[in-house]
Symmetry: C2
Subunit: 350 residues, 2 copies
């Protein structure tokens, strides 16, 4: 009988944050691909686009005019999925038909007035301003009585449903803990109660010893491909210090966080020499006025590309009905990302 090799043999791995397993088929990247190709993003945008509803000075769909902003600009989403209005509701209490109204606030965060930038091409100082904006928003939104969780995220690239290439992210703040947060919290809490320590702190310690899934490290943060990553080049930024939300970040940590966001997004762009699409977002403690020592600040990057700038991984039939599945071992992805240059391919001097 052959000896098991995780770079060759199909296996399952356990995600302790979600209490779920994923299927790894490392040999499968070899199959030929005759399916759908994505269109490459255009790469000749002007610094200001008169038709962009996020550019400074332009008028949005609802008639409001953006100010002449110079770094970050935040406004309430004109097409919010959540609304802050309270409605009258009588619950009918039926176990198979459970429904409840949900209140919330959706915001758009423009990262820069420059239409033709994205995070990897911005200066670290400018990214620091984005992080500071996230802090202020977490604080402000979280201070509302009816807001118990603040989800900060970015959809980058049209393949990730982003309808405007202007550098921006979103914040959805709401009354309930979203499904993924509730699950993560449950698992972090169980670990914390059992071990009196942070699951991600213990995990990070092991990863720093094992090295093979590390991508980047600075004084305060580490980027790694999680042992249980589902997307081909999925990564996670974990803070070295155990703190539960973005407000707890020191000034130094804030800078280091901005730096590592730049570094990982530069690596991503360099992977296929394209503006690399992803959805990213911060997972942190709810704003429900309860102590959350179990939470450990981290940021997920879920990029869809698998083989090239135009061929993505499809999470479809088996993945939707069975379980998440990946075609390359996380250790291989980590090595590929680690070995990439740290300088953006567009600024390469040859």
């Amino acid at each position: 009988m052959q000896q098991f090799n995780h770079n060759e043999h199909p296996h399952r791995r356990y995600n302790p944050l979600l209490d779920e397993w994923i299927l790894v088929s490392p040999h499968r990247a070899k199959r030929p691909w005759q399916g759908q190709r994505e269109t490459l993003p255009e790469d000749n945008r002007p610094a200001h686009d008169a038709n962009c509803y996020l550019c400074a000075g332009n008028t949005r769909a609802n008639g409001e005019k953006n100010p002449d902003y110079s770094d970050c600009y935040v406004f309430e989403n004109d097409f919010s999925a959540l609304l802050s209005t309270e409605v009258n509701f009588e619950s009918k209490e039926q176990s198979l038909f459970q429904l409840k109204p949900e209140r919330g606030i959706n915001k758009v965060v423009c990262f820069s007035p420059k239409h033709n930038l994205t995070l990897p091409e911005m200066e670290v100082e400018a990214i620091e301003k984005v992080v500071q904006t996230w802090k202020a928003q977490y604080l402000e939104l979280g201070s509302h009585d009816f807001i118990n969780y603040v989800q900060i995220f970015e959809n980058k690239g049209s393949v990730m449903g982003c309808s405007n290439p202007h550098p921006h992210g979103q914040i959805w703040a709401q009354s309930s803990l979203p499904t993924q947060i509730e699950k993560t919290q449950k698992n972090l809490r169980a670990y914390y109660e059992k071990n009196k320590t942070s699951l991600l702190k213990d995990y990070l310690e092991q990863e720093l010893k094992q090295q093979e899934r590390l991508v980047l490290e600075n004084e305060h943060f580490v980027v790694l491909v999680p042992f249980w990553a589902t997307w081909p080049y999925e990564t996670m930024i974990i803070s070295k210090r155990h703190f539960s939300n973005i407000i707890a970040m020191t000034q130094e940590e804030t800078k280091a966080f901005a730096e590592i966001i730049k570094d990982i997004t530069v690596k991503y762009d360099n992977l296929f020499e394209t503006s690399f699409p992803y959805s990213s977002g911060i997972h942190q403690a709810p704003t429900d006025r309860v102590a959350h020592p179990e939470w450990h600040f981290h940021m997920h990057f879920y990029p869809p590309l698998l083989r090239s700038a135009t061929v993505k991984k499809f999470m479809v039939g088996y993945e939707m009905l069975g379980e998440a599945q990946r075609d390359i071992a996380p250790e291989q992805s980590a090595k590929i990302l680690r070995d990439l240059p740290n300088q953006h391919y567009k600024t390469k001097t040859t």
Copy 2:
């Protein structure tokens, strides 16, 4: 204060099969869409394509030649994600780094030798043969010692990662219960133990009374948009009789199942007058040699399209990091599907 209205106000609904909540933002379909458009599938395929590796008589990548099949043809996937070989493995038992080898068998099921057909355009008798093939495969694959679950599914359309338009589905059979099956089973079982009856039987009874989420009904099956559907036009086929797997189907039920598969896929094609993409699959009892009275045979359809033949719903940032979110009330989707003609748009006589 306004009275809550589920066609207007943001709310969350509970999925009792997965024990998860989803966010419904029914007012949100109104926002304009400037994002990615999918390419329309080509609709002039020949009945036999010399370059198709699924057509009868053609040679596949691995050098094997397909027989001159006349209805269904099943073969082992040339690029299987799961392998049946046993490997030698010593578990290291670390709570944050859990991994185990997984064995399985992947098959491809050609639904018809005709390259230019899809399920909605096939005769009911031909679909019945597909169902019989599924039965035989469930039985055969499930009889292996090391196979405890058999996932039957179809990815239809390039937007769902399908790389060949020849009508076909797949079967992934494996040792472990996949994540989604394990969760579903846990919830079905808890309900069964508490109420001594099938969750889906009770649910279906209510839905038949309420009517508003029904799409189709015949003597033995119902198609409805689940109360907790996440995809815009997601549906579920539920058997009226409570049985746990495809083998338990009577001859009459088999025919009724084939009929309702045709009927729902015809409605889907008629929705945007296009070959409607989806991932579909059967959820049923594991083949682990244990009685499963909690399982109730059903089939999910997860179609990505939202607004038109070229604009899909993106399950991205918020959905990946927070929770699944939909932009139209399930009751509205059900009405739209219900009101569509039952005859395929291509065969319309005007």
